[in-house]
């Protein structure tokens, strides 16, 4: 193999450096060469050469990059692929020989087509360098075609009985065509006076083109003379093997041929053409006389033309395998002439010797690209020629050459795709080569990246695909194109980077309040599951969409599930909770009570965490003023929503005393008590008197019962209401072991509850005193000590057992009310009620129409109440259970 390789040498003139030369690899067949050397132990000052330092880019095997050759590469690629496909199909059974032959013809056709194109281009161009370039390539193609055709005749197309003369003649005719000269001669007034008249006739005869020869002869002025007629007669009767091949054996042809040639020899001996030297020469050819070929060596031009001509007239039945025995005599003829045996001759010679191995070897060193050997070897491999010849390379020669061919294509920016396809057909190393190339393929554009990815995908090269995606993604990330970057990271299923990008998106949102790349986020689909953060991003965006579309319920439940599932990162909770505010304030009730509890819980958790962080690390950020304000709003919203939810959800027993309808027969307010249904409660109707009052009792096993009342005293009332209250209180069995708690708007704001005493100088002292008296008589204490409306305490809660009350608070008013909410927590119960399972409403499965109808109804009722009366809701919570008083 060693001698197969040819060393190409390129010299660069550059005195810049005597120190040495270094080189570095580019992509594919590319090398950068520059003067210089590796470090020495100490810098050598004497070596300083203060001249320009140049780096040279060196490439080889690049003639295929020429535009015309690129087309050739592409077209032959199609033939190649087709052949591989058919070969694979036929491998199961049947002969692929016709296919191989067809492919071979196609390759030749391509060579011819592009030779013509190059010739036209060369003729058309005036630029000398270009022309030279075209002609160089043309020579290359011509040579390829010549060798290929011979190889096809010898190795691929084995004709019946191994007779090759017909094909050889075709081969010669194509490469030594005289058509133009023939036409020229025929156009002459006297064709026989043309200077090449006889040369052309000789050549036609030598090439077995009998019809053309006869035509030319018939134009001769003496065409009708006897000796012309005699030659014409001989030519006409010349047996041609291909015409006889059907139904006739080689022996028959041979007999016929001998008979005909005997005739020719006889005419020669009889001096039939003595008077005409030219006709005599023709007859000598026909008779197969040895000497005449030597005489006509200039007309044959080459030894192989002569070989074929000689065979035609001396051994027309020669077998392909025997051709080599006649070669030497032809070579001898040309030995003394100025022509020396060139590379081309050598290749043809070894081909005639049937040394396929040597043909490939010589060809690969002659051609400056791998096109020829790679394709020819592939064909030979397919028709089994390589095994038959027991090459020492075995079946790997084909792959070896194809790899080289493919590699030489990889460094071209348009041919590399073709190279990939060739590598696909190299079973042993192709894939590894491809992996290495793909990894290093420059990714200039998205389109190329896409193309590379497809290549990886088709071939299941996950590692390389990942690397490509990562690189492109990183590039986008560095250029701040988050959307594009995310697309690429998704493609490579890169969890870490997808998370990073999702975080960046979220940060962007929390800074600017809007998303870029909406399309992408909206269409994430299942790919969002790649990373938690990404899922959150996708879901969060979905929340926004639902909200924009006005589907508040779905939005609300999504928001809640994001918080509840802990999918949302802690840093983002504040944003999510802030997003909940408009939902809490929506006209419809979006969050159920249990939802509200969950939200409250999250808020609590977040606040705590902030506190902890602040303590641990003073530098960490605390809530900003703006955030604090938002949190305040949120707390308010949650409380209001909770109360709405409680009423709406009918989780409570409601005891109410409605005010009699007004003169327009409209109901307008009253008092009510709502008690969680978890607690056993009953209305105590015997305590009802003629004022706005309602009583209920909660029965507790093993503990004091709790008697809860709601009361309203209109400010305009002149005393009857308090008397009725007194009556009601008096009906309570004082001896029974009961905790009493009654609350409501008494409209008596001029009492200093810290003493307690009526504030002097204020109007309506009578009623104020009456209330204090009542408290004393029934052993009750008023526990509200913060103003509930403006600066006055109008909403009071009276209890008989103040120690049970742990906490009294006011909360901002609800709805249109100008009264604050009074909120208390008590420890009335000694026994804690078992905590019941939390209920999560599956809103997506709900009967929405009914719910909506119900809600609407409830809402209307509520609105009516609120509008007619300044109502407050007093709430009493108890270990998670809640009571609500409303009047």
């Amino acid at each position: 193999m060693a001698e197969r390789e040819k060393v190409f040498c390129q010299t660069i003139y550059d005195p810049a450096c005597s120190a040495g030369l270094q080189s570095t690899w580019g992509f594919g067949n590319q090398l950068f060469v520059f003067p210089g050397r590796k470090p020495t132990l100490y810098p050598e000052n004497q070596l300083h050469c203060r001249r320009l330092q140049e780096i040279r880019e060196v490439r080889w095997d690049i003639d295929l990059y020429h535009p015309v050759m690129r087309k050739l590469v592409n077209e032959s690629h199609n033939i190649f692929v087709m052949l591989q496909k058919h070969a694979a199909e036929k491998a199961v059974g049947g002969s692929i020989h016709p296919l191989i032959l067809k492919s071979s013809r196609q390759y030749i056709a391509v060579l011819i087509a592009y030779s013509d194109e190059l010739k036209k281009l060369a003729d058309a161009t005036i630029d000398e360098d270009k022309k030279e370039n075209y002609l160089d390539l043309l020579r290359l193609l011509k040579m390829s075609e010549l060798i290929w055709s011979l190889c096809e005749i010898l190795f691929l197309d084995s004709p019946a009985g191994g007779l090759v003369i017909t094909q050889l003649l075709d081969w010669i005719r194509i490469h030594f065509t005289d058509e133009e000269t023939i036409l020229q001669i025929l156009q002459e007034e006297r064709p026989d006076c043309h200077q090449f008249y006889w040369d052309t006739v000789y050549r036609l005869v030598l090439q077995g083109q009998i019809d053309h020869a006869r035509r030319l002869l018939s134009k001769h002025t003496a065409a009708y003379s006897d000796n012309f007629q005699s030659i014409d007669d001989l030519l006409k009767r010349m047996p041609i093997f291909s015409q006889m091949s059907r139904g006739h054996s080689v022996a028959e042809f041979d007999m016929k041929w001998r008979h005909w040639q005997d005739d020719a020899q006889r005419r020669l001996e009889e001096q039939e053409f003595a008077g005409n030297k030219q006709l005599r020469t023709i007859c000598r050819i026909l008779a197969g006389e040895e000497a005449v070929f030597t005489e006509l060596q200039d007309i044959c031009g080459t030894w192989y033309h002569m070989l074929v001509s000689k065979m035609l007239y001396q051994h027309p039945t020669v077998k392909a395998i025997d051709l080599q025995y006649y070669v030497q005599s032809c070579l001898d003829v040309y030995r003394n002439s100025q022509q020396r045996l060139g590379e081309l001759d050598n290749i043809l010679l070894v081909a005639l010797e049937f040394d396929i191995h040597q043909v490939i070897k010589e060809s690969s060193s002659m051609f400056s690209n791998w096109w020829f050997v790679a394709h020819l070897t592939d064909l030979l491999q397919h028709c089994g020629q390589l095994e038959a010849h027991k090459l020492q390379y075995g079946s790997n020669l084909r792959e070896f050459l194809l790899l080289d061919y493919a590699s030489s294509l990889m460094s071209n920016k348009s041919l590399w795709v073709v190279g990939v396809s060739y590598l696909d057909h190299c079973l042993e190393f192709g894939r590894h080569y491809l992996e290495n190339f793909i990894e290093n393929m420059p990714i200039e554009t998205e389109r190329k990246a896409q193309k590379l990815l497809n290549i990886c995908k088709e071939r299941n090269m996950t590692e390389q695909a990942r690397s490509i995606c990562k690189v492109v993604g990183m590039r986008h990330l560095n250029n701040k194109r988050l959307g594009a970057a995310l697309t690429w990271f998704l493609r490579s299923k890169d969890v870490a980077f997808a998370t990073v990008i999702a975080e960046k998106f979220l940060l962007e949102y929390s800074e600017s309040g809007s998303f870029t790349n909406l399309d992408l986020i909206d269409n994430l689909g299942p790919s969002m599951l790649l990373s938690n953060r990404l899922t959150f991003l996708g879901k969060y965006r979905e929340f926004h969409k639902l909200y924009e579309d006005g589907d508040f319920f779905a939005a609300g439940s999504l928001l809640l599930s994001l918080l509840d599932s802990r999918l949302a990162p802690k840093e983002f909770w504040l944003t999510l909770l802030k997003d909940a505010i408009p939902l809490l304030e929506a006209r419809e009730l979006i969050f159920s009570s249990s939802d509200t509890y969950q939200l409250m819980h999250c808020l609590e958790e977040l606040t705590k965490e902030f506190d902890v962080m602040k303590q641990k690390d003073g530098k960490r950020r605390a809530f900003s003023e703006h955030e604090k304000e938002k949190l305040g709003l949120l707390k308010l919203g949650l409380t209001r929503n909770l109360s709405r939810a409680i009423v709406t959800e009918e989780l409570f027993n409601v005891y109410r005393s409605d005010r009699p309808p007004n003169k327009n027969n409209q109901s307008h307010g009253g008092v009510l008590i709502a008690i969680n249904k978890e607690l056993i409660s009953t209305e105590v109707s015997e305590l009802k008197t003629d004022c706005e009052i309602v009583w209920s009792q909660i029965n507790m096993t093993g503990s004091k019962n709790l008697l809860i009342g709601a009361y309203y005293r209109p400010s305009s009332n002149k005393g009857t209401s308090l008397q009725q209250l007194e009556l009601s209180l008096s009906r309570i069995n004082q001896s029974s072991n009961t905790n009493i708690m009654i609350g409501g708007d008494f409209n008596l704001g001029h009492i200093d509850w810290s003493i307690p005493q009526v504030i002097p100088g204020k109007p309506d002292a009578e009623h104020h005193n009456k209330l204090l008296e009542l408290l004393e008589n029934f052993n009750l204490q008023q526990i509200v000590n913060t103003p509930t409306r403006k600066e006055r305490i109008l909403d009071l809660i009276l209890v008989n057992n103040p120690t049970t009350v742990n906490k009294v608070n006011t909360l901002p008013p609800l709805g249109l009310s100008d009264h604050d909410i009074v909120y208390i927590e008590t420890d009335t119960w000694l026994r804690k009620v078992r905590q019941h399972p939390r209920k999560i409403l599956k809103y997506d499965k709900a009967n929405w129409e009914n719910i909506e109808a119900d809600l609407q109804k409830t809402l209307e009722e509520l609105t009516v109440m609120n509008n007619n009366n300044n109502s407050t809701i007093n709430e009493i919570t108890e270990g998670g259970d809640l009571l609500s008083l409303l009047h």
């Binding site: 193999m1 060693a2 270094q22 090398l31 520059f34 210089g36 470090p39 070896f400 590894h432 200039e444």
Partner: protein
């Protein structure tokens, strides 16, 4: 046919010591005795100087590009005992990290295969080799192999990311070992392996009779075997191979040149080796099917014509 397509005027004021193409072959970085590093865009036959990096106080010996997934990073080593890692952000280059833990000139620097993360190795005239790695959050840690080569270490090269035996047994999912090869003034080529965070000498390859100037571990092309090329001041280039099953390395002398061989590098597919040196020649070598190494091309520098000659060897 070999032809010079372009020549790039680097405008370095002194000898160039290294030129490295980035991963895709679109940017060329050069370094020189003039203490600078220059970066050229070499796309589509155009060459434009993009940047000049200044920061070393002595001749810059060698450069290495990181895998693009880490961004645009270059590591450079210099006579000033420093290794500098440069990073490009929005077109401007700045120092990302400076490693100063060598006591003498740092001769060679190389990045590990990207699968191992952002890791690089460097060899110094103080005889030691450092393996520097980034945890990704900007902090760097270094491990040092002291006395790797007495008198000095001239070259280091990383093994490709292929676990031994992974090609024979694709289900063998064990993580490939981090391995490096180094060459030094003790005429030795040494292979090092990381085991539980420590670097250990795996093999000592004896074959050269003078300082080893360059070592290059060939990319994997799907064969289980490993191939290393080394060149030396003894004018020889040696190809070391291991069949992937044991710890035995066999060697073959690629060629004995007429002068010191300074530099070696493998093509992307690892089938062609470029050798260059003091004989002012760059020659390309390819292994034939029979395992012979043959020269397929060479580029001469010197006075002369463009020639195209056939040599039968």
């Amino acid at each position: 046919m070999v032809s010079v397509i372009n020549s790039i005027d680097t405008a370095h004021e002194d000898m160039i010591h290294d030129a490295q193409l980035d991963y895709y072959g679109t940017k060329l970085a050069t370094c020189s005795s003039d203490k600078t590093i220059k970066i050229f865009d070499v796309k589509d036959g155009q060459q434009t100087l993009i940047n000049e990096l200044q920061g070393h106080d002595g001749p810059v010996w060698q450069l290495a590009w990181a895998h693009p997934m880490f961004g645009n990073l270059i590591a450079s080593c210099s006579y000033d005992r420093k290794v500098i890692i440069w990073k490009e952000t929005n077109g401007t280059w700045g120092k990302l990290y400076e490693y100063t833990n060598h006591d003498s000139s740092v001769n060679s620097v190389i990045f590990a295969p990207q699968e191992f993360g952002l890791v690089l190795a460097c060899g110094s005239s103080d005889g030691s080799i450092s393996i520097i790695s980034s945890s990704g959050d900007g902090s760097w840690t270094a491990k040092k192999i002291n006395n790797a080569h007495s008198i000095g270490c001239n070259a280091v090269s990383f093994a490709p990311y292929v676990s031994p035996g992974a090609l024979l047994d694709p289900y063998n999912k064990q993580t490939p070992l981090k391995r490096i090869v180094s060459g030094g003034c003790d005429n030795l080529v040494k292979i090092w392996r990381e085991e539980e965070g420590e670097w250990k000498e795996e093999k000592k390859l004896e074959g050269h009779s003078d300082w080893v100037r360059d070592v290059a571990w060939a990319p994997s092309i799907g064969l289980p075997r490993s191939t290393i090329a080394s060149c030396s001041q003894d004018f020889r280039v040696i190809i070391w191979t291991n069949d992937g099953t044991g710890n035995d390395w066999s060697h073959k002398i690629l060629h004995k040149f007429n002068d010191v061989v300074w530099h070696l590098s493998w093509s992307i597919t690892g089938n062609i080796l470029a050798c260059s040196g003091g004989d002012n020649k760059v020659s390309l070598w390819k292994e034939t099917l029979e395992g012979q190494w043959v020269c397929i091309s060479d580029v001469n520098k010197g006075q002369g014509q463009v020639t195209d000659k056939s040599i039968s060897s």
